[in-house]
Amino acid sequence: MTVGGWFQIALYLLVIFLITKPMGVFLAKVFSREKTFLDPVLRPVEKAVYRLCGVDEKREMRWTEYAVAMLAFSGVSMTLLYLIERTQKWLPLNPQKLPNVPPFLAFGTAASFTTNTNWQAYNGETTMSYLTQMAGLAYHNFVSAAVGIVLAIALVRGIARRETDKLGNFWVDMTRCLLWVLLPVCLVASLVLVSQGVIQNFHPYTQAQLISPHWVQAPGADGKPTVEKIARQVIPEGPVASQEAIKEFGTNGGGFFGANSAHPFENPTPFSNFLELALIFAIPSGLTFTLGRMTGSERHGWAVWTAMAFLFFVGVTATYWAESQGNPLFHGVDQHASALQPGGNMEGKEARFGDADSVLFATVTTDASCGAVNSTFDSYTPLGGMVPLVNILLGEVVFGGVGAGLYGMIVFVILAVFIAGLMVGRTPEYLGKKIEAYEVKMAMLAILILTVTILVFSAIAVTQPFGVSSITNPGPHGLTQVLYAYASSAGNNGSAFAGLNANTPWYNASTALAQLLGRFFMIIPILAIAGSLAGKKTAPESQGTFPVTGPLFSTLLVATIVIVGALTFFPALSLGPILEHLMMTAGKIF
């Protein structure tokens, strides 16, 4: 660990702190339909969208209507993505003449992008045409992010409103989210990314003649190794920057290229890296302030923010420590940080980022349900790689995905006030609303669906040949690979211990199912909670009310999250990364 590394981490947290309030205020204005400086340009576009789609912008919806609209939209847009993938050969903007995507992979990818997971069992540069990338995948980066955000807003409205059954209009919220929030920021951010070297074009791939041709061993057609001369390099092109911006800002994480944000064309400089990191946390952090503002308790918003920032800091510290130690099994290699080299465990990390920027990215992307990566988790030290896994297992509530982080966190808030209520022997209340059996049941359902999905699928995969055959790292590390795959899928993260060969019928189908379960069986209980809370009266705060502001509440919230997570996943973790760590320190190689 170096001073320079810590400085970058501290600076990042400071930047996130500073954008929380402006972003939160702006989001509250957009969804409360207050005036913003963008109105003169966007209001006519907004009206045109409603006219073209036949939406009555004045009409609000009950929670069930809201849920049906959300499901209908997800279903339709997922089908369109599947169709684009399956027909890309005949569609325009395919200069490399890439074939149609095979059915299992196309279905898995469609599910993955619709659920904001962006789990990828393919390399974009050799699988997806430019049209599929931008009109299919990047489009879903926009709308799956917007769906997450508007659901969080619907839940916040449920908390803030009283004695009503209306939560807002799904189509209006989506339109305003896309036009006012996602598109303008991405337009600016993508141009800044281009200024750093992220590419943006529709050229066919470039053939480069290497100045130092060389020979490599490659398996020949008959399986025998042959020597092959490499004199050329094919350099891929494409509309990358426009997708890169929304990939981070919408916490989607699906890379244009296989190497994701480690690829120099997706993330060429330390500044592009910093910008991508800031984009990931911008909305999730801002939404905590939106929560406070819309419910009339800004201090509650900051209490939630504090709990998140604390868990983030613990995570980044743990993984930075683990990675900067290097790999004790490498002998005769200098892994110390100095002014001339980053040092640490550099397997699977880029020289321009070193260990500090890599672990910061790893922590942020898994806290936030983003799943973009600028280093490969499979090659992290056991404890360094456990942090991203734990971040996902805790429910991705540390800032979390856009919208998903906030509604996930509110589930834990409900649980925390329920536990506090039990301890003091009073009916629990949350911002004036009584928390009753129905809300607690729905909150537990949301928590359990994640747990059950992860553990059951992992258990099947590690006991069946079709699951085990995809494991590529022997020993306890193999269990971590599988556990991570289902955690990432059910948590809609999309990052991977990427050695696992996930492009098999079993993994394509089971991870897609885990993603759909983790997304929609989480969303529906949450909308039910929103609907139920909206209908309640608000009781004035009394002396016996457990306060949801201040350090005591933040502490209780952190404790609830950690205890639920630890009780559920400690056994699995101890057989995976913890065991691997102990054996690594004992010098064991698998």
Binding site: G4, A135, S195, P213, S242, P264, H331, Q341, G348, S379
Partner: protein
Amino acid sequence: MKKTLLVAVRFTLVTTVICGLLYPVGVTALAHLLFPRRASGQLVERDGKVIGSRIIGQEFSGPAYFHSRPSAAGTGYDPLDSGGSNLGPTNRALIDRVEADARKLHEENPDAPIPSELVTASASGLDPDISPAGALFQAPMVARARGVSEQEIIALIHKQTRGRQFGFLGEPRVNVLELNLALDRLYPLGAKVKASSSSAPHGTERGARSDSQSKAR
């Protein structure tokens, strides 16, 4: 229900046009107006031929060039198969690979400790950079092959080193392609070295290559 489905279809089509077509096309137009070279991948030309991208790493062989990091992208630095090794920290395949590479490097330069990134594969497999320590470690080998003093090579490395961005972001680094192009420009390979360097089939047809300026497109 039927009405909702109809709205969903219309909404999908309208937003696909806005977010999936107009937005990326608009960004492309603005990008080419503002940063045409960067939007096209910073391709580097020499003698009228594209020889690579400034920010995509490539393999260099022989003692006359600085070498890039090990790469797990395809057979090495294949941009159509970008990615890392994904070998776990306790995987024997990783430990064996690192030890074999370390042995080779020690033969070239037995005195210095081996900087860790020279024996580890990057996440993209296309890392264009090495650390200053990684370049300095290779200086004696390159100096011998080019027949110049080690001091001159070390001075060139220092000149080519990029510090942290704005002084505090990222890590100091050296772009391997740029460093090697500077080598070819300043200390051209003599005829003797060229003949023994079996890895330069274009060397003869491009006799004047050492004098040619590399330029970026």
